[in-house]
Amino acid sequence: PLSSRCCAPSGATPAMNCRAEVLEVSVEGRQVEEAMLAVLHTVLLHRSTGKFHYKKEGTYSIGTVGTQDVDCDFIDFAYVRVSSEELDRALRKAVGEFKDALRSSGSDGMGQISLEFYQKKKSRWPFSDECIPWELWTIKVNVVNLANEQERQICREKVGEKLCEKIINIVEVMNRHEYLPKMPTQSEVDNVFDTSLKDVQPYLYKISYQITDSLGTSVTTTMRRLIKDTLAL
């Protein structure tokens, strides 16, 4: 549900110092979900840590992040994701909505899904907290329709190769070691990390998507908030 508590919908101009990366893929309809999940999981693999456990004197220890291989059914491709069912479910839900929206838009199948990492900055009442994005990933999707099985087979392989390139691109960005939020104190941790999951701790993120209609204008903007908001109004 849309919430007016926090920042402007993404798709608006990113704030200063928010780096933005754009990836583009052309896929068949049935490949949309797996392709999106592969990219989102790869990003979140790099943007999740183990759970923090704060101890006295401001020190903390970090839990362990497990990983697992995922094979795609419709793409000749495999990727690694964080071993967290909660996180996987959240991503699948978002991607599922995106896919449905793409399909029902009836357009020529263009849209984009965005993964935004942000920090919360508390403001005094009556102002609501600010959400300050610091990294924005946008995946532009172009859905193609294929005529026969042979084309589909080629598409399986080609999309697999393309996704390999995307993974390499993502890793390149991650390796730049650019701005990351400072490690927070215990009182600040919920402004930086999503602490609602029980086994891993991703940076605060939200996923949104847009469907482009045939006129090229964005039709819907759906905000999905996937954080635990402790300041529910």
Binding site: H46, T64, V65, D69, A78, N175, V200
Partner: protein, 550 residues
């Protein structure tokens, strides 16, 4: 680079981080080429033992190899740690696929915080490595390894050698981490000319000696594996005791066994190796193969020879199980990897019976034998057929026959030529010396007694045990502590053993009895003249028909 700015504690920490980073890097790479999906669990409570806060298993052999290659050194300028991934076909051709390089350059970052930023960035770099290892061409090849080729790895330390990758190889950078003593870089150079793979005709060659794998799955995959603590205040290395390579090469076995196609194990002896010593003496080519990866591998012994896969005729015909743990007491335990997905461990075999059985099943250089780790019906068939031919051969054979066949089931001939007293079987002292005098032996011709307990629970000296047995004609065998596979205990009134005893001698089918057979034969013979007469009458028709065929 002057590192006087670095406190000694920081320096120690940094060296430790780099060392374990190198070890973990090797683990990630090798595990990504095993041909199986990897899965580790997240743990919210810190175990204090997972380096870089990542759940990356440590395969002992791999750690051992890496440590051997590093020989106490750390990657430094001009001294890189390289993991070479290559492919070897069943015909013996091999090809380098990738070289993963962990290098250090001189560019220092003095400002960076060792215990914190460097550590976290190394963790991030490992995550990148996890991701990148799945997107190079060798990943897909390694997932399909098994029948026509296997994937091998080799670790070396020193100068990077990329010449084996062919022309036009590509490089992908996994990442870099700056430290006060230099910048760590991790990259992969990979061959792109894999054309020969698709055009090559892979013929089935008879399997030949390969690499020794003795496996013992020690314990199931634990949620918190006993790794060394990340707490860098702690002392030394991991406490896993790992025997030196020299030890492992002593225990080559002579048996050669494989199991059904997707599960293969090779064993080979040192004696069969005829090749010259390896060129690079400080590294060893070790096969990497889908394996019970989800299982904790404890101390293990992997016997191999460098360049073993190029041994004369001893090329790898079938996939090789890699890096199993080994327990000295059970050298024949098998790990049977499925090609994809999970790998169930085969149950450990009891020390005597079935091990003897397995040894009997396996003949060196004898082609492929399919032996399951547990007694199976196929084994029964084989041994029973031996026994039914009256082949009582050596006491050893007989011993196995007794052990693995269902006692009494399907036996046609009595065993009457063996004195069992001197056989190494349990309760041999209770076995009758002369089998033919068994009629009065309650164990052989058990009394008709109600099924109060499983007859098979009792030992030989338990008089009252045994179920009823209708046909005693084939009871002239010795019942020895028989526990048929999958039989239940004496909980149910009718267990498998009882069932066998009851129904082991069903009456013959009436249609197969001699009388009836003879009868119908007589009838046939009687009717022959009639039939012949009819045919003679129609001989003209037959002739005409034959002419139409010509």
């Amino acid at each position: 680079a002057m590192d006087t700015d670095l406190s000694s504690q920081d320096r120690k920490d940094l060296d430790k981080f780099i060392k374990f980073f190198a070890l973990k890097t090797v683990q990630v790479i090798v595990q990504a080429r095993l041909g199986e999906k990897i899965c580790t669990r997240s743990s919210s409570s810190p175990t204090g033992s997972d380096w870089f806060n990542l759940a990356i298993k440590d395969i002992p052999e791999v750690t051992h190899e890496a440590k051997k290659a590093l020989a106490g050194q750390l990657p430094a300028v001009g001294r890189s740690m390289c993991v070479e991934i290559s492919l070897k076909t069943s015909e013996g051709d091999s090809m380098e696929l990738e070289i993963w390089c962990l290098e250090m350059n001189e560019k220092c970052d003095k400002e960076i915080k060792v215990s914190y930023t460097v550590y976290n960035r190394l963790s991030l770099l490992l995550k990148s490595l996890l991701a990148i290892t799945r997107v190079t061409p060798a990943y897909r090849l390694s997932r399909k390894q098994g029948h026509e080729y296997v994937i091998l790895y080799r670790i070396y330390f020193g100068e990077v050698q990329l010449s084996g990758l062919g022309e036009g190889f590509q490089t992908v950078r996994v990442g870099t981490v700056g430290t006060p003593v230099g910048t760590i870089t991790l990259s992969c150079a990979y061959r792109i000319n894999l054309a020969f793979m698709s055009t090559r005709q892979f013929e089935r060659t008879p399997p030949i000696m390969g690499i020794i794998i003795d496996h013992f799955v020690d314990r199931p995959y634990p949620s918190s594996s006993p790794m060394h603590p990340c707490n860098y205040r702690a002392g030394e290395d991991n406490g896993v005791v790992y025997p030196s390579v020299e030890d492992s090469q002593e225990v080559c076995t002579t048996s050669f066994s494989t199991s059904p196609p997707s599960q293969c194990v090779f064993t080979v002896t040192k004696a069969h190796f005829q090749t010259p010593p390896p060129v690079v003496t400080d590294t060893l080519k070790v096969p990497v193969m889908g394996l019970a990866f989800s299982h904790q591998l404890s101390s293990s012994r992997l016997s191999y020879q460098p360049a073993a896969l190029g041994v004369g005729s001893a090329d790898m015909g079938y996939p090789v199980l890699f890096a199993g743990g080994l327990n000295a007491a059970h050298p024949h335990q098998l790990i049977a990897p499925g090609k994809e997905g999970g790998v169930p461990p085969l149950p450990s075999q009891p020390a005597h019976g079935t091990q003897a059985d397995q040894e009997r099943m396996c003949t060196p250089l004898d082609g492929v034998h399919y032996s399951a780790a547990t007694p199976s019906s196929s084994e029964d068939t084989e041994t029973v057929s031996n026994s039914s031919e009256g082949k009582c051969g050596s006491p050893h054979d007989l011993l196995e026959t007794i052990f693995i066949r269902k006692v009494g089931a399907f036996v046609n001939k009595p065993i009457n030529q063996v004195t069992m007293a001197n056989l190494d079987i349990p309760f041999a002292m209770f076995a009758p010396k002369n089998v033919e005098l068994e009629d009065n032996d309650p164990m052989v011709n058990p009394p008709e007694s109600p099924e109060t307990e499983s007859p098979l629970q009792g030992s030989l000296h338990s008089e009252g045990s045994s179920g009823s047995s209708t046909g005693n004609t084939h009871d002239d065998f010795v019942m020895i502590d028989f526990k048929p596979a999958f039989s239940k205990d004496d909980i149910l009134p009718m267990d498998l053993g009882t069932f066998y005893r009851e129904f082991q001698n069903p009456p013959q089918l009436s249609s197969l009895s001699i009388d009836i057979g003879a009868q119908s034969m007589a009838e046939d013979l009687d009717s022959l003249p009639e039939k012949l007469a009819v045919h003679e009458k129609n001989v003209k028709e037959f002739d005409a028909f034959v002419e139409t065929l010509q």
